[in-house]
């Protein structure tokens, strides 16, 4: 019998925990053991989650593959599917398809510095890279993480990032935090304590705080689409080659496998499907594909 790629596999919600007013942390376990074992993903790939009677939506995985059969996701409410996920309790079943897309070229990045730049919910896929690179610390040189938030309340994985702030360079990663609301009290407190690592402003302002060695750095950006342009420019100004700046895109994806066409971008000479050619592209791609950023 031919496999039907559109038929979701069942997975159980083992954790559905509120992180902020808008976001939940969701941990899924594929029910079928064989399916779970075969479910190998690259960091930066995404899955399609189905809720019966509601629909399907794409989500990027936010953890590295360490605990077998478990998939971690960061879900922001607002859409039909996301709202439905948030009201499901632990033990409920959802449908899963995937993993889809290309993911980040972790092998290729070995031996280089990593600069991870996250804005808002874009922190989800970057967290998986951070986990992986810290776990495989010897494979990479300096690891720097820029995280831009609006207010302290909207900060995701707060405990993890707070401990990176507190740990300083000892944590294995230089973590910098920027916040947009200059009056946010908790952020001001953080800034008072870690003045060299925390500042108010947009995430691209963090470039003022640190040196980038352009020759051997891979930069990975993930955040709202407006961020790519600004951060891309900052990096280019600092001579990071555009082909070593990676971005992860968000688009409407009904199928995840290059059929439904909703995620098509580009011009006559560069039509791309974000779902199967991406979602990870280089800044070079972005400069040469119209409508990408």
């Amino acid at each position: 019998m031919m496999e039907n790629v559109f038929l979701p596999k069942l997975a159980k919600i083992v954790k559905n925990e509120k992180m902020t007013a808008m976001e939940h942390f969701l941990r899924l376990q594929l029910l079928d053991k064989k399916t779970a074992e075969e479910f190998q993903y690259n960091l930066g790939q995404f899955i399609e989650i189905s809720i019966m009677g509601v629909g399907e939506a794409p989500f990027s995985i936010c953890s590295m593959q360490n605990q077998k059969y478990l998939l971690d996701l960061c879900i922001r409410s607002g859409g039909r599917v996301t709202s439905a996920i948030l009201r499901l309790g632990e033990g409920s079943l959802v449908g899963v398809r995937g993993p889809y897309g290309n993911g980040f070229p972790l092998k290729e990045m070995e031996g280089s510095n990593l600069l991870l730049v996250a804005g808002g919910l874009g922190v989800a896929p970057l967290r998986s890279i951070l986990q992986y690179s810290l776990k495989n610390r010897a494979k990479y040189r300096d690891i720097t993480f820029f995280y831009g938030i609006r207010t302290y309340d909207t900060m995701l994985f707060r405990d993890e990032f707070n401990s990176l702030l507190a740990g300083g360079d000892e944590s294995g990663c230089k973590f910098y935090l920027s916040y947009e609301d200059p009056k946010d009290e908790q952020c001001l407190l953080l800034e008072a304590e870690y003045s060299d690592r925390c500042m108010s402003g947009v995430v691209s302002k963090l470039f003022e705080r640190t040196e980038i060695s352009p020759k051997d750095t891979y930069a990975i950006i993930c955040g709202p689409s407006i961020m790519y342009k600004f951060v891309g420019q900052e990096l280019t100004k600092r001579d990071v080659p555009p082909e070593r700046i990676l971005i992860s895109l968000e688009r409407r994806m009904r199928c995840g496998i290059g059929k439904c066409g909703n995620c098509i971008i580009g011009d006559g000479s560069s039509i791309r499907y974000v779902c199967k050619d991406g979602p990870v592209f280089t800044y070079w791609d972005a400069l040469h594909t119209k409508g990408m950023i």
């Binding site: 509601v54 039909r80 009201r87």
Partner: protein
């Protein structure tokens, strides 16, 4: 979980939208089992003015009494859904909006010196209160109200079709009445949801579901039909019949009025 409380109310209109809920006939009892109806103007004399989870309101705001009732309903409902064109854009009552004053209209119909209701220029609900969802149609479709009920009961925001009738014609492989027959079909600018019922029967779309919100290229509809030899005033009237209060059509009317220096025949 407690059953959601539902109120179904009517302002100025023909009652056709409430009737379409009743037209669910075979499934009506199954549906009602899942909800508690506290008011259903057309179906029951019981009218409890209590708080509701979802209020369905049909009809336009055309009198001060309408407005008073609407504000009351809004105050005591968690979610307010406008059902039918009257409740969205005023529908046929509004077709002469801004072309003449209410006073002129009343005099034309009832004669000078008569006593009238306290009338307002007809508009949809959203001119006065916050509306959570609008279900287009004159009347609404049973299939759509059914799907809205089911979506809400399932806990989801209903998905409303925001594409034109042309899509449904093509998906049903109905012949294009505009292109193939040169009929004055309004399909390209009218919201789908009827499954292209009229074009499927060879009748050109008269636009009863109203234009698509924020997407209506009314100027091009005028241009297209002018090219096919239809009269400008005829086309404008056709567009205004159900859609006079919609942004694109308002703009078009204004443009046409300016062109003729305001000298429009009745």
């Amino acid at each position: 979980m407690a059953k959601p409380k539902i109120g179904i109310y009517g302002l100025t209109g023909c009652g056709g939208d409430q009737l379409m809920i009743l037209n669910l006939e075979n499934e009506l009892l199954d549906l009602l089992r899942n909800v508690e109806i506290v008011a259903f103007q057309e179906a029951s004399s019981v009218q409890q003015d209590e708080e509701v989870d979802i209020a369905f309101v049909e009809g336009s705001v055309s009198t001060e009494l309408d407005l008073e009732r609407l504000k009351d309903v809004r105050k005591r409902s968690r979610m307010l859904i406008a059902i039918g064109d009257c409740a969205i854009g005023g529908c046929v009552q509004a077709m002469r909006n801004q072309e003449m004053t209410m006073k002129e209209k009343m005099e034309e119909v009832y004669g000078k010196g008569e006593e009238y209701f306290k009338v307002l220029e007809p508009y949809g609900l959203s001119k006065y209160v916050n509306v959570d969802l609008e279900l287009q149609g004159c009347p609404i479709e049973t299939t759509e109200i059914r799907q809205v009920f089911l979506s809400l009961l399932h806990g989801d925001t209903p998905e409303i079709k925001d594409y034109p009738v042309c899509v449904e014609c093509k998906l049903n492989e109905y012949q294009c009445l505009l292109v193939d027959k040169g009929m004055p079909c309004l399909g390209p600018i009218i919201a789908a949801g009827c499954n292209a019922r009229c074009p499927g029967l060879g009748i050109d779309c008269v636009g009863c579901r109203g234009p698509i919100m924020n997407e209506t290229n009314a100027a091009e509809e005028l241009h297209t039909l002018l090219e096919k030899g239809y009269d400008e005033r005829y086309i404008e009237n056709r567009l205004r019949f159900f859609g006079a209060n919609f942004e694109g059509i308002l703009k078009l009317s204004k443009m046409l009025r300016e062109k003729t220096g305001g000298a429009r025949g009745k």
